[in-house]
């Protein structure tokens, strides 16, 4: 099922410069796998060796941090928007 994924600047070298790409998957984890099959190397930027989301990477589904949902097992439905956002400083 297709979802839209917003890609931050540091990862656009993998997506040919695209800010937003389409990916398929029933969970965030499977979307990450699907992204990797389209854009080789991107998964390693998002996840550590144990397959967990890296410390400094934040992933949101429709604006909600997946750490408040079900992390990589968070389920997705058609048309959901996934954002990948680096952590930023306070204010």
């Amino acid at each position: 099922m297709p979802v839209q994924v917003r890609i931050p600047t540091p990862l656009r070298r993998y997506t040919g410069g695209s800010e937003e790409v389409s990916a398929a998957g029933a969970t965030v984890g499977s979307v990450v796998e699907n992204l990797e099959s389209q854009y080789t190397g991107i998964k390693e930027r998002l996840c550590d060796d144990e397959g967990q989301v890296r410390r400094f990477v934040n992933i949101y589904v429709n604006g909600d941090d997946i750490r408040f949902l079900n992390s990589l097992d968070t389920e997705l439905k058609d048309g959901d928007e996934v954002s990948i956002v680096p952590a930023i400083a306070g204010g």
């Binding site: 917003r6 931050p8 600047t9 540091p10 070298r13 800010e19 930027r45 890296r54 410390r55 400094f56 990477v57 934040n58 949101y60 604006g63 941090d65 750490r67 408040f68 954002s83 956002v85 680096p86 952590a87 930023i88 400083a89 306070g90 204010g91």
Partner: protein
Amino acid sequence: MGNVTGLRCLGCGADYQQAPIYVCDECFGPLEVRYDYDAIASAVSRELIESRPRNLWRYRELLPIDGEPTIGPYSGCTPLVKADRLARELGVDELYIKDDSVNHPTFSYKDRVVSVAISKAIEFGFTTVSCASTGNLANSVSAHAARAGLDCYIFIPDNLEQGKVVGSSIYGPRTVAVRGNYDDVNRLCSEIADKYGWAFVNINLRPYYTEGAKTYGYEVVEQLGWRLPGHIVVPTAGGTILPKIAKSFDEMRTTGLVEGDTPKIYTAQAAGCAPVVRALHEESKTIVPVKPDTIAKSIAIGDPADGYDVLDVVRSSGGWGESATDEEIVDAIQQLARCEGIFTEPAGGVTLAATRKLIEQGRIAGDEPIVVSITGNGYKTLEAVTGALEEPRVIDARLRDFDNLFEGLHSNRDQEMVGAKAAAG
């Protein structure tokens, strides 16, 4: 001039050239400015610093600009108040308040980081500055942008105190209130920063911005007579200032400006938003983000970007962390005002309340110099304490009315004293 050698990732150690970039391409970790400390050590001295005007640029060799500073000629050099009355109440020997509630021009520590960030933005050629903010940063960016004649966009949560909102609007930025909390604003702004190419002081200028916080630590050392404190308690929101205070102490030792042991550094958070303190108490390697619920809105950041840096610094210094409930925050704000005549915002109440607990626990030794970091001003957040204070007594403009009032106040006090003596006896 300019002693910057480049940027380095705090996560994986990858090196980068100086640029308006803020995260590591490899691991998304935050980037930190690196310097040529040998060059700095041969250029600076206590005498040189003391000979300069009283603003944060007196430490310019240790700040990440290449040319002359253009922003913040009156910022920094806030008082280090020797707090003897407060020290007596807390049962300690030597206590200081580093008082950034009177920083110029917008009454918070943010005037330091913004002076550096916008000076750097101008060096990079930006003409629009912006920020995501819980209020204090927005105030500071708005004021400094106005004086520099730069365009300015401010992004804040939609539930801020009126003083924090007006404190930006008066300088004429375009203000956008985002429905949600700071973490929501932050997420949106990181996407806007990507798209619009503005100088977001706490996003794409973050490595430079955070360096400005070091001046808080340099000043503490200089004002203590070129001496390191034994203990310093610092509030944590996004986690900018605490690691930079630690860096300031390290740099001053590296460059020969001061000698001595690394101070113990303690973090203070509101109980309703304490992800870093919780990780400390649970001896966890992971910081679990929270949804903030506290009156200390200026530090209500549930997902602190530099939280891991705070954890590392606190642990390696031998420090600790404590949190404070809303009631404890209001009580500590009043205690600081009553003892030292300093009116701080709820974040300052958090810091003092946490300090009290750390002293009671014996974690902070009472016979070593202690610094409490006050980073914001209570006049911006009147809502936080209004209900807790004595209301003015209203009388007509007649002497007899005041005589009656005074007599009533006195007899109340006399009764209280009689009662206290009876209880003591």
